[in-house]
Subunit: 403 residues, 2 copies
């Protein structure tokens, strides 16, 4: 009799976004005349840049002719893309990586889920709270139920303190989803030092790196001394270049990084990851990798930065207008996410209902990202400029009277 | 201290293809004047069909404009593609599937590796021998070391007999890689009956389905009575339409299919797989799904079948000419793979060396696919017509004297 992996039965219902959709649809049915605006989307809205489109057309044409056709790709990824990533993302920040330390993939989600397969079920896992829910779920699926949480609260400005217990696998996400806050160099150095001391591994999710504006905020964890010995970095083209529907990412697994056998023998995770990818991952589409390469052309860089600026203008506007009416706001500077402290001690679902019913604006209740998210609300900068202004103006009208 | 998943240390060296490459490169260095021809490639060589290319250009253009831009996709896959698969692959064979029983992915490799995460480590796994090595490796990575093998030998015409022991998870691959043999309806019905009796699950890898020519060979396991209760089917556009560098596949997880808790409670694997994909898989590229849809247009069908015919002509030629000189050949009719019985009791690596050194032709030693592969050699139909003819003529010249 085939036996199920009972760890799956320990997953909590994945109801956050389905509950939002259900409530929104109900509201729309009851209020067909009202224009609902969503500031809840964690997804880009601007189309792909012309440099990327040109590169994709060119790659599609190559696939049409025998001489230029590309069949099975290399698991590591094409060298043309690895070269660009090394140069633009790392060498200009004085980080020097070997070609085989960068792995191209079809999205960080798969790599973040896959990397933990390399590590024993007996590790102690620590995850920020609030956080993107998939970190927790993928650990529960493997049977890691005793997850520790690093609390991100107003007291620590949503940058968790170094734990005073032992943690083997540390998930850090900066710029953070959902709080929009970032680790500065000192804070990140403290975490790297902790990991070195405890021989822990940091899984550093930096999908929103392109939104970093402040000079003292590291763009890569490898700007921090000693990080190559303890950290794996996950980066994505999803937000960088609007690739959420295209699917491209890269993961850096430095050769210095080790995990240990029961007999304390160090094992190189770089070769383990390559072996895992060879057995489980069919490489990334050639056309997609050419699209990603184009992001690093001069035109590509100019065009993607223009799009990021558009989103940044939205987040600046949201922050500024809501602060004017006395609201307490976190994030939104080095991130497309605005983390709003809900006024009047309302719960985050009550605030969701209030906003929907009174203003027809959708956001995301903080509790959906973990217990420390209760009392907070996530707004995003990914809507159109016009919709963002309209939504903010409705919220301001509602709360100006109130606050 | 971070602890490694020590199961990875039980993997055997993945040396088959690297050893082939190394030996080939050595030969080329020592014989710069000789033209090496490979009949060892398990990968397409013909470029994408015009209908597919047109669809991709159109989809790329959609990604350039706000009104038609596609961001995060649906984990299940786009309905436009699911509709076509239902109709062309299943309904015309009287198989009726619900929309949410078909999952679009970026290659069967990832799904074949992922699906076993849904099943307890305590299941007994049975795998055909010889076989594509990733089935074994992905189980070893999870700690399933006690794998049973279904022997495919000349005695059973490379279609393994029903086991006389209990197996929970059964891997079947038809048309088979590497032997090129297929299960007929009676044989497959026996396996389905076994699985129903034992409440086992069959993982049915049918990546080479498009090569099936004989009328009595099922194109889908769901042509077999009761299969929906016990089988998951893995299908791919890689060989069907030359998508090895594009990456698209689909997996059918019927709602009737159950695995069981310790208390014998049946658990629906369809919802578990959706939950797994939501946490670990970032959906398939929109452009790729439009490309796959185009395979099912009238033009697309005509064009991909023309390419398959080209490969079939190659395999027919290889089979026919090698049989003429008295060689014993399996497969190659419903498959691009020709499974050659090595003459004169040579080992498969010795035969590889002989062929390379005497004819400059590359093939794949059967032992690379498992112990039952010893004494056999895989040739493939994926080279050009000209190269295939030239390679066969060299082999014939060598062995005409010998046999």
């Amino acid at each position: 009799m085939s036996k199920v992996n009972e760890n799956f039965l320990n997953l909590k219902d994945d109801y956050l976004f389905s509950k939002i959709t259900q409530k929104t649809n109900e509201f729309k049915n009851n209020n067909p005349d009202k224009k609902v605006i969503s500031l809840g989307i964690g997804d880009v809205s601007l189309p792909l840049s012309p440099a990327v489109i040109d590169a994709m057309h060119k790659a599609v044409d190559e696939m049409a002719h025998q001489e230029t056709f590309k069949s099975y790709g290399i698991v590591q990824g094409y060298q043309f893309l690895i070269d660009k990533i090394k140069k633009v993302e790392y060498e200009k920040r004085n980080i020097f990586l070997d070609n085989d330390e960068i792995f191209i993939a079809a999205g960080s989600k798969g790599d973040l889920a896959g990397i933990i397969e390399l590590l024993s079920i007996n590790n102690i896992v620590g995850i920020m709270d609030p956080i993107y829910p998939a970190y927790v779920d993928t650990n529960i699926m493997m049977g890691r139920n005793d997850i520790k949480y690093f609390k991100a609260t107003e007291e620590n400005n949503f940058v968790p303190d170094i734990p005073n217990e032992h943690i083997d696998i540390i998930y850090l996400c900066s710029p953070n989803n959902p709080t929009g806050t970032v680790f500065n160099k000192t804070q990140l150095q403290d975490w790297v030092n902790y990991a070195k001391e405890h021989k822990s591994i940091i899984l550093y999710d930096s999908a929103y790196e392109i939104f970093i504006q402040d000079n003292n905020i590291p763009h890569s964890i490898y700007e921090i001394d000693g990080a190559k010995e303890v950290a794996i970095e996950f980066r994505s083209f999803s937000k960088l270049a609007g690739f959420t529907g295209v699917r491209c990412s890269f993961t850096v697994v430095p050769k210095e990084l080790k995990a240990y056998t029961k007999d304390n023998k160090p094992i190189d995770l770089n070769s383990l990851w390559r072996r895992r990818q060879s057995a489980k991952f069919g490489a990334t589409s050639y056309i997609t990798q050419r699209a990603a390469e184009a992001v690093y052309s001069d035109k590509g860089q100019e065009q993607v930065r223009k799009n990021i600026k558009y989103y940044q203008d939205n987040s600046n506007y949201i922050k500024q207008e809501l602060k004017k009416i006395g609201m307490t706001i976190f994030g939104g500077t080095n991130s497309p996410y605005i983390w709003l402290k809900i006024p009047n001690n309302m719960s985050s679902w009550d605030f969701f209902d209030l906003l929907l019913n009174k203003t027809a604006v959708i956001g995301t209740p903080g509790i959906g990202f973990g217990n420390c998210g209760e009392g907070y609300f996530r707004l995003t900068a990914f809507s159109s400029k016009e919709d963002t202004k309209e939504a903010v103006s409705r919220i301001v009208d509602l709360f100006r009277k109130d606050l």
